[in-house]
Amino acid sequence: MTAATLEIAGERREGAVATLRRGLRMMPEFRRGLPATFALALLATAGRVVVPIAVQQVIDRGLNAAGGPDLGLVTGLVVACALVVVLTAVAVYLMNVRLFRTTETALAGLRVRAFRHVHDLSVLHQQGERRGSLVSRVTSDVDQLSVFMQWGGVLGLISVGQLVVATAVMFFYSWQLTLLVLACFVPLVIAIRWFAQRLQVVYGVVRERVGDVLAAVAESVVGAPTVRAYGIRARTAARIDAAIDRHYRASVQAQRTTAAVYVSGEFVAAVANAAVVVVGVLLGLAGDITAGTLVAFLFLVTLFVAPVQTASEVLNEAQNAVAGFRRVLDVLDTEPDVRDPAIATPDRVRELPPGPLGVRFEHVTFRYAPGARAALDDVHLAIAPRTRVAIVGETGSGKTTFAKLVTRLMDPVEGRVLLGSDDAGWVPLADVAFASLRSRVVMVPQDGFLFDASVADNVRYGRPGMTDAEVATAFDELGLGAWVAGLEQGVATPVGQRGESLSAGERQLVAVARAYVADPDLLVLDEATSAVDPATEQRLTRALDLLTTGRTTLTIAHRLSTAERADEVLVVDAGHVVQRGSHAELVDADGVYARLHASWRRSSAGEPEPVG
């Protein structure tokens, strides 16, 4: 295990076929029942070839029969033909339904697996700005596949079948002319790779331009106050116009390329027709084929050409779908850098020891990328159970990394982290089953994210199955009973998207209650930096106090008051724990903490900081 894997696997060039093979491996639902679907597809394609031939026969033998139309034959053939038409339609219908059901089931499975997998990837919490692209892997990328399967995939499947059947029938009439026709299409088959690449490029540009338009439009909406306050309407409009214009030009370019690809099939078909006429006549003169065979063969060529054109039409959609498919599969192929030992190493998996939990770091080093500066450098320390520890340090000192290692959001590059106590024993964190770890060790992140549900639902998230009354009691115990009762609908009050109906401070109150009901033995708090209104701030302080009582607590402290209240302060600087002790001890010692403290006091009192 090296440093955290922040990249999604992939970027490797692989062919469409390889992607499809990889995908089929990951979609067992898709393979199920495929033979029957293929049988129906074959039936449908046979019908598609037979019907025009039958029509041809009706005309040749019935209508144009020597001595006037042969009514009996025409009627018989037409009725038989109509039967075939209806049967074909039924076969197509059955095939469609089967195909839709299996593909949609397979894609839903794929979607859910990818979703689950994304949650295992550290990229999700390390690089917040990439969340949008991860969302699109389980939404629009899969949607694109689904759309393709429904519109393009079926068409492609039938076309390929039709191609095979038409070729077989053509061989039956004249193998020489069949080879000739196939030879005409060889250049097209060769060119199709190149076409595919071109299409990929032009549609790649279009997608990029779409992104630019989205960003530009967002400026006019999300940035509305800024645009007005700075009087830059004209400039913003110009930027949007430019983005729209670039998108327009890219789209037209893509359309041009698509049209060129599409008509190449048309042109090759004409060449094949012309070649068949010329060579066919020459063959006929040599006595190899009859006039009737040649006429029939000319007709067959059109049956051969149609699916080729459809296939080249589908090709473009297929390109997009395969690209989306690849993006989804790449997510699934990315190894999570932290894995549940219950799954990864079941022979070594352990539970956390009972009782209060302490923390031990044994020569722990962590870096975010191989070769990067160590975020934590050979940290070696122990924290006794039931101690309230404040971790302080400047931004980038490594205090957040410390917290992430304790909660096993990441694994150290070197050394190891252990949890436990001298009485009950110590267990390496890497061996602890997630079920045990997550029920005993809980982190309260800075933003205290809330789901679009009620206050009670959000608290219950920490302990499923609680009743509303139990949730209300929990608030009471945290001294927040009055606050929650004052909400419009008490604990049943909906909090809105991301909890936005509540203020930032109130969101933190709910997050604290959520951690409280989870009842962890080790608590990791990432203190919020932003200001909340004073009344809420007071409530929060009290609730946090009650929450942390009797639990081992590591707080990433941004406030002096938190450090002052802690049993012990750890001062982190440039990846090292440089100081350790109580607030009182550290203030008097000459060191990083004393400096931080002085700057804190100055800013709180409103005195200007000295230069430097």
Partner: protein, 591 residues
């Protein structure tokens, strides 16, 4: 029900009319190209027939042929194909251009409205809705345009076929008159059944996406509480619903497709059967019958194009209907004729009896707020949550207009000033910093004429020079939507630099330093005051450090400016103020 369907059809046709009226030239070109394609499709069959009769069969009969005859045959086939290709390219390209132009035009109009309409309008509409109005709705509105010329060409072909049918034999014409309407009926029934299912699938898609967004945003909570499995269950439940919805769509589509394919085939067979009897009776000619049967088979594909257009119309209408309210919205901010009195010193601010109430709100946000800020002074606006501080800050730079009363800049009502005058004199920094998808320089200058030295000076004042110089490309580093990720504090500092670089005479900070370290905040405010011609500063603040830097404080409570004075005076005289400030500093400083 039937009346509603009629309405949809009528509105659909009107929408098609809108598309044609928007790009008449391109439409005409595309339909012409489509006609060339149609004509050449018929011609290619004709050419093969002629070659069979004139070259092929005589050669076999005579046992000899000439090079000229064979060459001519080959040339004829390829020439017709080339013309057909011209038709296809023209049809696709012109239709594409038509669609993309309509799209671009509509998008420009929509975003133009976004920029034109007042902030109060924006506040009434959720961001997500406005974004999808300009994106997916605009796209949906013109999606049907791509196959439209093809469909129009198909109508022409149908007309020709029916005419040919009537000319050949009235009885055969009946077949055509049954089959073609049947195709339209099938299409209509299809759209009827399909559109609610499509809508449901679309709705479910959005819901699946919402869950993914929320769940991924909550990654830390989910992971640290070990709730991945239950999140997956929640997602899977909706994904399964979506699957069922899509299968329901697929089932209809799966039935419709083979029916649409079978109909022309059955039509051809009917023509042959009836035609054969008629030919036996001598009512019609066998040769004509063959060419009509052939026309029938040729029509199969173009008729599908009509189906595509019809199937897409409900979605297009829905998209356009969602965009229309944006286009129809009124309420442009009116500007006056006056210029601001530009001096080198700070601007004087007057707030006179200002009332403000959000649209539809029961209670006013601000009530009879009156105070002055003398030029060059720094005033802090302090008050409990919900007291109207941010609203007041926005009024000072005319983000909105008061319902009653007036806001003055150097004694002139903001509403009397010309467009651009307020933003030339005053700068505003909001709590959540908005960064444009642009470079650091672009985000600071916003297209104004500022030298790099000026930009760096502004960055220094905003305490942003440190992290900006550490960015990979310095001032040229892209930030915002698709650029480097900055912390909340860094974003706020860039937004501050944006205000500072313009050397505004009035600077309004709406809790604009909340995500910045207190020490850094103090440095920023000091630097602002230390400038040789200090701007008038109005700052909405919580922190005592921020408040302490102000010359005076305006205490806002329940939408009213209740008290005014220095920090010390208010501490002494206003219990509410004292309680608020003390409560905060307690949490901040003491144990």
């Amino acid at each position: 029900m039937p009346r509603r369907r009629d309405a949809v059809v009528r509105r659909g046709l009107r929408h098609v009319g809108r598309a044609v009226a928007g790009q008449p030239g391109m439409f005409a070109a595309a339909v012409s190209a489509s006609s060339v394609y149609g004509a050449m499709t018929v011609a290619s069959a004709f050419v093969i027939g002629e070659i069979t009769d004139r070259v092929l069969l005589p050669s076999f009969e005579d046992g000899a042929t000439t090079g000229t005859a064979l060459t001519l045959a080959a040339v004829a086939i390829i020439a017709v194909a080339l013309l057909k290709i011209v038709g296809i390219i023209g049809r696709r390209l012109f239709a594409g251009i038509m669609q993309y132009r309509l799209q671009a035009d509509l998008r420009r109009r929509v975003t133009g409205q976004y920029l034109r309409l007042p902030l109060s309008w924006h506040q009434r509409h959720p961001t997500g809705q406005l974004l999808s109005n300009a994106n997916s709705d605009v796209e949906a509105a013109w999606f049907f345009v791509a196959p439209l010329p093809f469909a129009c060409g198909a109508l022409v072909m149908i007309a020709i076929t029916v005419t040919a049918l009537i000319a050949t034999d009235p009885l055969l014409a009946v077949v055509g008159l049954v089959v073609f309407p049947l195709v339209f009926v099938a299409n209509a029934v299809y759209s009827q059944i399909m559109s609610p299912r499509m809508q449901r699938a679309q709705q479910l898609r959005a819901e699946v996406s919402e869950i993914a967004h929320e769940s991924f945003d909550a990654a830390l909570v989910v992971k640290t509480l070990g709730r991945e499995a239950s999140e997956t269950e929640r997602f899977a439940a909706r994904a399964d619903e979506l699957r069922d919805g899509l299968v329901a769509v697929g089932r209809v589509r799966g039935l419709f497709d083979p029916i649409m394919e079978a109909l022309p085939n059955l039509g051809t067979l009917a023509v042959l059967l009836i035609g054969a009897h008629r030919a036996a009776d001598g009512a019609t000619d066998a040769g004509d019958l063959v060419s009509i049967a052939y026309l029938f088979t040729l029509l199969a594909l173009p008729i599908r194009a009509i189906g595509w257009v019809l199937a897409d119309l409900p979605r297009a209408l829905a998209g356009y209907d969602r965009v229309t309210p944006v286009l129809d919205a009124t309420g442009e901010t009116p500007y006056g004729p006056d210029a601001a009195t530009a001096t080198a010193t700070g601007a004087g601010v007057g707030v006179q009896g200002v009332d403000f109430r959000f649209d539809g709100a029961a209670t006013p946000t601000l009530r009879e707020v009156t105070f002055d800020v003398a030029a060059g002074r720094t005033v802090a606006v302090v008050g409990p949550t919900g007291s109207g501080k941010s609203t007041l800050a926005g009024l000072l730079v005319r983000l909105t207009d008061p319902v009653d009363g007036a806001v003055l800049l150097d004694g002139v009502d903001l509403r009397r000033l010309r467009e651009g005058e307020v933003s030339d004199q005053a700068a505003f920094v909001a709590q959540s910093a908005f960064l444009f998808d642009d470079t650091v320089r672009g985000n600071v200058t916003l297209g104004g004429e500022h030298s790099d030295d000026e930009v760096w000076t502004a960055l220094r004042v905003a305490a942003a020079d440190g992290f900006v110089s550490a960015l990979p490309d310095g001032l040229d580093t892209r930030v915002g939507e698709r650029g480097a990720s900055l912390s909340g504090g860094q974003r706020q500092r860039l937004a501050l630099a944006r205000a500072v670089v313009r050397r505004p005479r009035l600077l309004v900070l709406d809790d604009a330093t909340s995500a910045v370290d207190p020490a850094v905040e103090a440095r920023i405010l000091d630097a602002l005051r230390a400038s040789e011609s200090p701007a008038t500063v109005v700052v909405v603040a919580y922190r005592q450090a921020t408040i302490a830097l102000a010359d005076e404080v305006v205490w806002l409570e329940g939408g009213r400016a209740v008290a005014r004075g220095t920090h010390d005076e208010l501490l002494e005289q206003v219990p509410g103020y004292a309680a608020l400030v003390r409560a905060y500093s307690q949490a901040e400083v003491t144990a």
